[in-house]
């Protein structure tokens, strides 16, 4: 009934005593996520939000049986925080931190893969399985349990789309923001494969943007491996080339990564691409009716 996080997620928050970590840990707890511990080096033995704080992720995992982490540490410490979570054996690692150098992420990814861990992000809003677990900063109030999987490179644009789905009575299995950086731990294909394998996801909304070729590769993957109904949206049709549009990964460089190419490719393999955000729900409703 979900991908990556659910009721069995036992979450440690790395950077829980920081401003963002503390605020969002509270929000996650309020949503009902099983947050079991926080980690801040040097504050081991204290408590935060009623949770035990540990000096290391290894200690937190050992003492609390945590199996997932949400990272809110400064950019300079993010790669090390991810590797610490990997080393502690956590299977799902969500890195919210933005501004992580690409060289750091290049170095982290082979370790993450070798350990068989799942990294989501960095520079992402995280993910939420409505009614079960919220890991990251997505607002809990806009989602509803259901059977549409949502995967997106954006933050607030995802909220916009999820909110429209919820208002239209289309609940979600899991909503996941994979992040806007050039190097990310989990991409569209990873999420599409997981949604396809999830017996309770019945349709997928995929929100891409300019930069890179992930959407094109996702289109090929869907054509070959996904039989769920999929609707796409691509942001940045009018973005000028060579300019970074906020996200580090959202840049048309060397003529590659344009919205037009992505939309064309998705169209080629038969995936409807909504022209504007408010058309996403109607396009989905054309090809998908939720089971009673």
């Amino acid at each position: 009934m979900s991908i990556f996080v659910d009721r069995d997620t036992r979450l440690v928050v790395q950077g829980i005593t920081g401003r963002d970590g503390g605020f969002h840990a509270e929000q996650m707890l309020a949503y009902g996520t099983r947050v079991v511990a926080g980690v801040t080096p040097g504050k081991g033995g204290q408590t935060a939000l009623g949770l035990p704080v540990f000096d290391t992720v290894a200690a937190a995992a050992r003492e609390t049986g945590a199996n997932a982490s949400c990272i809110f540490v400064p950019a300079a410490a993010a790669a090390d925080a991810v590797l610490e979570a990997v080393d502690a054996g956590l299977g799902t690692i969500v890195c919210i931190t933005e501004g992580v150098p690409v060289a750091d992420m290049n170095g982290v990814m082979p370790q993450v893969k070798a350990a068989g861990a799942r990294l989501i992000g960095p520079n992402c809003p995280g993910l939420i399985t409505p009614g079960q677990a919220k890991v990251g900063i997505l607002p809990g109030g806009i989602v509803a349990p259901g059977r549409v999987g949502v995967v997106s490179r954006s933050g607030t644009l995802t909220y916009e789309v999820v909110w429209q789905l919820t208002q239209a009575g289309l609940g979600q299995s899991t909503c996941i923001g994979i992040g806007g950086d050039a190097v990310i731990g989990t991409n569209f294909i990873d999420c599409l494969a997981a949604f396809q394998a999830d017996p309770e996801t019945e349709a997928v909304v995929m929100i891409g943007e300019i930069g890179g070729t992930d959407e094109e590769e996702a289109a090929d993957f869907i054509a070959a491996n996904v039989n769920l109904p999929v609707v796409a949206f691509i942001a940045g049709r009018t973005a000028p080339p060579g300019k970074r549009m906020g996200h580090a990964g959202a840049i048309i460089s060397g003529g590659a990564g344009t919205a037009a190419e992505k939309i064309a490719k998705l169209g080629e393999v038969g995936i409807p691409v909504a022209t504007i955000p408010s058309r996403i729900v109607p396009e989905l409703q054309k090809i998908y009716t939720p089971q009673a």
């Binding site: 150098p101 060289a103 933050g155 644009l157 909220y159 890179g212 070729t213 906020g246």
Partner: protein, 380 residues
């Protein structure tokens, strides 16, 4: 971030890459002096602007000695290349060219690692080569932890050259990788790397672009930023922590989140309007940031209406509304402002806006259409 050729050459030199000597001149007299200091022989006078295609635009010229260098510098200094005024030229000895190669290291998003690209087709646009004759490019993925191993460099170099030239090229590849790695680059390029008739190898052009996320730990490089790279508004926005790109339209946009900001821009165009900018004001809604953003946007005389598109998420919309109202009070703005706020407490927010001259809207579509209408002189 980009830097100039002469700066990239300085970074290359530090790694031992053979770069012809040369200095930067800001006046024709300086250019003359440099040419003389270089021995009085033929030199190349190269405009230093942060755009491609300097050669085609007439910004790179050969000069046969100091006097011609002065004349050439006179012609190039002050030129406009793709909208940028040339204020500096690099004066460097001219080299005879027997062969031209291309060497470049660039971040490969799909492979999640840098790749070395090597080609015997140097001196031309490598993206063009990649499109038309991809087999002329040797691609070598670089292990992000191990780095470019010398033997990998040799394999690539001996694929496009031979003998001493290839051996030298292999050394330069490793030096190029060291430069790339040390400064958190996402592109480091020598195009062309030349072989002279006498068998010398020289990097006669140099380009490095940087990973913006790496600049925090590259204070020297960050200090090299040339404000001329971007319009002044973009520099100002960057300093304020805003992500801003100037466009040519008449609807100014303030949006939280880059994806939503792009979608807003697209939607304006979709409904026949013209966005004046891309602006992501980020997660916080502090009045200070909003004031700076409004200031930057309204300085553009083309802007005839302003659109706030904020998806509140966890932040309460009434707080955001209060921030906008406060910012609006502090900024002296003549054009109409449309505000669309979604999220927790959005009704309270709309009530607050109702007491102001801000124009509320419930959906993105409505907000964008209203803003376009107002920008074209219509009524709210």
């Amino acid at each position: 971030m980009k830097i100039h050729e002469y700066q990239a050459k300085e970074l290359f030199r530090r790694e031992g890459i053979p770069v012809p000597e040369g200095r930067v001149a800001e006046t024709p007299a300086e250019a003359r002096q440099i040419a003389e200091d270089l021995g009085g022989g033929p030199v190349v006078v190269k405009s230093q602007v942060l755009v491609g295609g300097r050669g085609k635009a007439g910004g790179v010229k050969l000069a046969d000695g100091p006097d011609e260098a002065r004349e050439t510098a006179e012609a190039i200094l002050g030129m406009k290349i793709k909208g940028l005024t040339v204020t500096r030229v690099l004066v460097t000895p001219a080299k005879d060219i027997a062969r031209e190669f291309y060497l470049g290291i660039v971040q490969d998003r799909s492979r999640q690692r840098p790749v070395l690209m090597t080609s015997a087709a140097g001196g031309v646009d490598i993206e063009e080569v990649a499109r038309t004759a991809p087999d002329q490019i040797v691609t070598t993925p670089i292990d992000p932890v191990l780095g470019l191993r010398p033997f990998q460099a040799r394999q690539a170099a001996f694929h496009v050259a031979e003998g001493r030239t290839a051996a030298q090229m292999a050394r330069i590849m490793v030096q190029l990788w060291n430069a790339y790695r040390r400064v958190d680059a996402n592109l480091a390029e020598i195009n062309p790397l030349i072989e002279t008739p006498g068998g010398e190898v020289w990097a006669i052009d140099a380009k490095i672009n940087f990973d913006d996320n790496g600049l925090a730990r590259q204070p020297e490089i960050a200090g090299w930023r040339d404000p001329a790279e971007s319009p002044p508004e973009e520099n100002e926005a960057r300093a304020a922590g805003l992500s801003f790109v100037k466009l040519a339209g008449n609807v100014g946009c303030l949006v939280n989140g880059a994806g939503l900001a792009m979608a807003t821009m697209d939607l304006i165009q979709h409904f026949g309007g013209r966005p004046a900018n891309f602006l992501d004001i980020g997660g916080s809604s502090s009045p200070d940031k909003v004031v700076t953003a409004l200031d930057i946007i309204t300085r553009d005389a083309n802007v005839k209406a302003i659109l706030f598109n904020i998806f509140g998420g966890i932040t309460r919309c009434d707080d955001v509304a209060r921030g906008i109202i406060e910012a609006r009070r502090r900024a002296d703005i003549a054009v109409p402002i449309v505000v669309r706020l979604v999220g927790t407490n959005e009704e309270e927010a709309r009530d607050l806006l109702a007491e102001t001259d801000l124009v509320p809207a419930a959906t993105m579509d409505e907000a964008v259409q209203t803003a376009i209408r107002l920008a074209e002189g219509g009524a709210a």
